[in-house]
Every structure is written in structure tokens, then in C-alpha cells.
């Protein structure tokens, strides 16, 4: 009956299973002698094939944390490991989708998607097939040769998702990927992420400030409190998929998350 477990720090999930572990991660920014503590002693793990949500107010350090996991910033305290190996830089086994599509405006949709496997050794025919199949997977078949300015925001975000998926990552990092989209497109894309996750079974870290999105997509949800960013609570969402967007179970978790976020 206990749908929600609430622990400040959860012990790492069995390591031989692989997955992501974040242990005692703290991060400060220094600017002109001023030190801003952004993250304090963050520890959690994401099991293989698990979807972990991180919610928190704007400015609480979510994007900073994601950047550390992505390997884009190595200046931090603590340890991050993926499938047992310490993260010391970016890697194609981690796909990233940001709030903005971040497509190269001078490359076509398929050229943009191919970027993620550009440095991978593979016959070019296989690369083309991989790009085409991932474009089809996100529903962009037929838009291969369009330039980014010729497609809508939702399609651009689909292309960004296809780019992240094409390198066949074991971990997908999503930083408020649907925040800039209209409500309908957003729901559509959320359901597509679930569909893709069900066929690929990669781990996902989803950063969002949308509580409903977290409840709809995630197996567990971490709530972060700001200044400095700390883990306030961890909640499991034990609702069978396909999940209804409304219902008593979702309501219970929503009110719990809202109180953890300091909203009533």
C-alpha cells in the first residue's frame, strides 16, 4: 500500500546490474572570489532500465547536475559511475536532450542526427540505416532533408531525441526536454518517450519542473531543494503503464511532491 518511500539518501542499487550511481556529489561555482554552492552532497542511483525524475524549482542546480553526469564539467567533488566505470568526460553511451533542440542550422535533419555517430567506426551504409530507423522511430520519416528552420519546434525536439537515440545510449539524459513545447505536443512526445523506452529499455534521467510529467513518466522522482541544491525526498511512482493522466494514485503522489517542493 505504501506507494511512496521517502529517504534522503538511498543506498546504491546492486552495482553488478550496471546503471548510474552518483555518490556525494557537490559543486560550487567560483566567480570573482565569490563562491556559490550549487549542489551539496547529492547521492542517488539509477538502475538499468529505470526512469528517474528530478524535479525542483528553477535555479536549484538540476541542469548543473545533468552536466556533471553528461561529463561536460569535471570540476566537482564526489564520484559518478556508469555501469561501474567512473565518468570522466562525455561519451556516446550517454545521449543528451536539452530544453532547446540545439540542431546545427546549416545541417539537414538527417545530417544533424548523424552527428552522434559521426566518430563511431561503422560502414557508412550502416550509419545511414541507423539514422533512418531512428528518424522513423521518432516520427520524422519524410523530413530527412529539411533544414531546422523548416520544421516546427516539436519536430526539432524529435530530431534532437533521434540524435540522442542514434548512438544507442544506455543512459538518456533529458533536461526539461519538453518545457518549450505546447501542451498537446508535450503529451504526445511524453508518450513517445515511453514507447521508445519500452522497446529500448535504456535508463533515463529526466529533469523537469513539471510534476505531472514526472508522475507520468518516472519510476522514481527526486525532489531537490534550492540554495544549495540538495535532495529533499525520493518517491516511487508505482502506477502500472500505460499510465492514465488522471486518477487517485497520481493525485496522491502529486500532493506529496507538491508539499516536498514547498507548494500547497
Amino acid at each position: 500500500m505504501d506507494q511512496i518511500t521517502n529517504r534522503a539518501i538511498i543506498p546504491p542499487i546492486d552495482l553488478k546490474d550496471g546503471g548510474l550511481t552518483v555518490e556525494g556529489v557537490s559543486k560550487s561555482y567560483e566567480a570573482k572570489g565569490d563562491t556559490t554552492e550549487v549542489l551539496r552532497d547529492i547521492s542517488f542511483s539509477v538502475g538499468e532500465g529505470e526512469i528517474l525524475g528530478i524535479v525542483g524549482r528553477s535555479g536549484c542546480g538540476k541542469s548543473t547536475l545533468l552536466k556533471l553526469i553528461a561529463g561536460l564539467d569535471r570540476d566537482f567533488v564526489g564520484r559518478i559511475t556508469l555501469d561501474g566505470e567512473e565518468v570522466i568526460g562525455p561519451g556516446v553511451e550517454r545521449g543528451v536532450v536539452f530544453q532547446e533542440p540545439r540542431l546545427f542550422p546549416w545541417l539537414t535533419v538527417e545530417q544533424n542526427v548523424a552527428i552522434s555517430i559521426h566518430e563511431t567506426r561503422m560502414p557508412s551504409g550502416e550509419k545511414q540505416e541507423l539514422v533512418a530507423s531512428n528518424l522513423a522511430l521518432v516520427g520524422l520519416a519524410g523530413f530527412e532533408t529539411k533544414f531546422p528552420h523548416q520544421i516546427s519546434g516539436g519536430m526539432a525536439q524529435r530530431a534532437a531525441l533521434a540524435r540522442a537515440l542514434t548512438s544507442r545510449p544506455s543512459l538518456l539524459l533529458l533536461d526539461e526536454p519538453f518545457a518549450a513545447l505546447d501542451a498537446l505536443t508535450k503529451m504526445q512526445l511524453q508518450d513517445e518517450v515511453i514507447r521508445i523506452w519500452q522497446s529500448r529499455k535504456m535508463s533515463i534521467v529526466l529533469i523537469t519542473h513539471d510534476i505531472d510529467e514526472a508522475i507520468h513518466l518516472c519510476d522514481r522522482v527526486i525532489v531537490m531543494s534550492p540554495r544549495p541544491g540538495e535532495i529533499k525526498s525520493v518517491s516511487s511512482v508505482e502506477i502500472a503503464r500505460p499510465r492514465p493522466r488522471i486518477g487517485a494514485a497520481a493525485d496522491a503522489i502529486r500532493s506529496r511532491l507538491m508539499s516536498d517542493l514547498g507548494l500547497f
Binding site: 553528461a70 561536460l72 568526460g89 562525455p90 561519451g91 556516446v92 550517454r94 543528451v96 536539452f98 532547446e100 540545439r102 546545427f104 542550422p105 546549416w106 545541417l107 552527428i115 552522434s116 555517430i117 559521426h118 566518430e119 533544414f147 528552420h149 523548416q150 548512438s167
Partner: protein, 247 residues
Amino acid sequence: MGLPITFLVLLTLGWEVMARRLANPLVPDVAEVATELVDIFASGMFFSHMTITLGRVALGFLVAFVVSLALGIFMGRNRYARQFFEPAILIGLTVPGLVWALLCVIWFGISLTTSTLAVALSLSPPLALSIAQGIKTVNADLQEITAVYRLSIWSRLRFLFLPTLTPFLLNGIRIGLSMGWKVIVLVEIFGLSSGVGYRLNTEYSAMNVAGVLAWTIGFAGVMALLEYGVIGGIERYVTRWRRVATV
């Protein structure tokens, strides 16, 4: 299209009127210049000397392009590099092409080194400066993407830096080429025995003003073709991804 042609027609008419009123052998009329023009084209002389001059500029340009790209990117991304090389760029921009031409002829004599170096030296400063400024406009979000997917330095150059730099490069190339032509002609006048500059010098020594004008007109024609045809064409091709406003 109509207006530029009108201008050229008026210029020709004006010249003709002036030539007739002055009636001076040093100011040939349009027919004389035209005859000379037809002559140098028909004899194949124009083509062979123009090709030599173009080849020299192309070689100097290639050297300048590689050097400026490396230097410009280095300066654009490193504060100390910028401070260190800034005086060199400023000096380079100030020294007249004439001086580069003279010095190169004195030091390297009649050789390919002279023409290549003189063109490269006058072209590099504006090109490097333009590239250094362009580098600052590289999108940080896209740079993160190149890091996420571990693109090699060459791929970053190809997918991020060069496309970002394109307008700056084209601008630098335009300024650089307009300077390059002047320098190469000077080098050819001073020290070489072929090329458009050499022919101009020969006609000048013979006091053949119609010849000087014919070579100048032919040369300017080729330049205009390069500027509007080739560089303009490249520009249209490499910026085809741009959204065009419909209002």
C-alpha cells in the same frame, strides 16, 4: 542589371567626348582602346598572363587562408594569444602592400616565393582579424553538443567553426582579395617577367596608354566576374540553409 550598364555606357561616352576634345595621344579614344582590347584577347596574350597572375594570387591566398584560420581561431579562443598577436595584426593592416611587394622582391628576387609571400602577407591580417571576431560568435550550446558526441577537432571545424565563420571568411576574403590584386600587380611590375603587372609595365614603358587601359579593363572584368560570380555563388551556396524573411 540596367543601372550598372547605364553607368558603364555613360562612362564610355564621357571618355569618348573627353578624348575627342583633348585630341592628345596620351588620351586614346574608345576605338583605340577597343582595338587594343580585341588584340590582347585574340592573340591569347591576355589569357596566358591573366592565368599566371591568378595562379600567383591563388597560391598566396591559400597560404594566407591556412595561416589566418589557425591564427584567427587561436586568437579568438585564447585571450593571451589575442593580446600577443594583436600588434602583429595592426602592423600588418597598416603596412602598405607596396612595401610588402618591394621587400619581397628585394629579399627573394624573381621567384614564386616573392609573389606568394607578398600576397599572403597583405591578405592574412584582415582575414585573421575577421576570423578572430567570428570565433566569438560560435554558439556555446552547439559547442556542448560537439562535446557530448565527442567530435574530433576536424569534425568540430567542419560542423561548427567553419559554418559559423562563413560570413566572416567571405568578408575577409573580399577585403583580402581586393588587396591581393594590388600587391600582385606591384610585384609583377617590380620583379617578374610575366603576368598582368608585367604587361602593364611593358605598355607603360612604350607609352602605349591604350594598351595600359586595355589590360586594366580586362583585369577589372575578371575581378568583377570573380567577385560577383564566384564568391557570390559560393556565398549563396553556403548560406542556403538560412531562413529568408517573407515580409
